[in-house]
Amino acid sequence: MDKLANKLRQDAENIEANVSDELDRRIRASLQGVTPANDQHAVRPPSRHAGFWWASSLTGIVAAAAVIAIINSQQDAPVPQAKPAKLFAAVPTIDLKTETAVMTSPLQQELDALQSDIKKAERRVREEVGL
């Protein structure tokens, strides 16, 4: 062993420390009031009787069987079918009267003629409405 290790060991032995009788009594007295805790430091509930587990398992199986039976018994009943709602009943249909444009002149002339027709139609509507 080297010099440092020897010195450290010797110096540790030079520290005088002894547990006094009074401290010994104190420690023993305090130990009497202590109960060793369980390994996991947790309080475990006492184990149930084996019959308890059988009873709970059977109860679960019976409950599941009852639910399955009820569901199966309800499958024969006719399933009500909803009638399709007439969504377009209230909406008036618009009768579109369209005519195919017959192109007999150049496009610009056709456009001018169409705009003139629109203006005439507008004027006629205004006259009929009374504006």
């Binding site: 440092l4 060991r9 110096d11 520290i15 547990v19 420690i27 023993r28 130990l31 202590v34």
Partner: protein, 180 residues
């Protein structure tokens, strides 16, 4: 006379007397260690009592793969650590030459006790590692278990501690020679 294994089994079964007999071998050594970390002799005694109570309370969690002394030291170090928690007044502030329990318990010798220097120069964990290695002869593995540190950390810090204390020892020797 019951063996340590028998005493442990009896203590695990709840026998406080068996536990008290079991720790009889270790009490003085633990007290000596706690003196190096407490502000007063009374504090060290209280820390020892707490260590014993906690050890008995958790005796059922003791793993026989460990040495019993390693397991006890682990609890003692934790207890000593609690004494030094931040909400407690710094122990270093309370220390004075007259009341220092370590200085009071050191037998007069020609040279300065190196553990006094160690306490001044090393931090708590390195001090504990050095103590367990050189005062208690624990293996590096046992020390790492007691300190809850890796083996490599333990090796490195033991080496650093040795270096620091070696320098302190050489300095003391030089002074002694100089004064004659």
């Amino acid at each position: 006379m019951r063996t340590e294994t028998q005493l442990i089994a009896a203590a695990q079964a709840g026998s406080a007397d068996a536990f008290a007999d079991l720790v009889k071998l270790y009490r003085d050594r633990l007290l000596r260690f706690l003196l190096t970390r407490c502000a007063s002799y009374a504090d060290a005694e209280d820390a020892l009592q707490d260590t014993m109570i906690n050890a008995f309370r958790y005796i059922r969690s003791y793993d026989p793969r460990w040495r019993f002394s390693t397991w006890l030291y682990r609890i003692a170090i934790r207890n000593a650590g609690k004494l030094r928690s931040p909400d407690v007044v710094e122990l270093g502030d309370l220390r004075d030459e007259e009341n220092d329990p370590l200085l009071r318990c050191i037998r007069a010798s020609e040279t300065e006790n190196l553990w006094v220097s160690a306490r001044r120069l090393l931090n708590d964990e390195v001090f504990a590692a050095m103590w367990l290695r050189y005062a208690e002869d624990l293996s590096v593995n046992d020390i790492s278990t007691a300190l809850d540190r890796s083996v490599s950390w333990t090796k490195v810090n033991l080496m650093r501690g040795r270096k620091t204390l070696g320098a302190a020892m050489n300095e003391t020797d030089t002074k002694s020679e100089a004064y004659g």
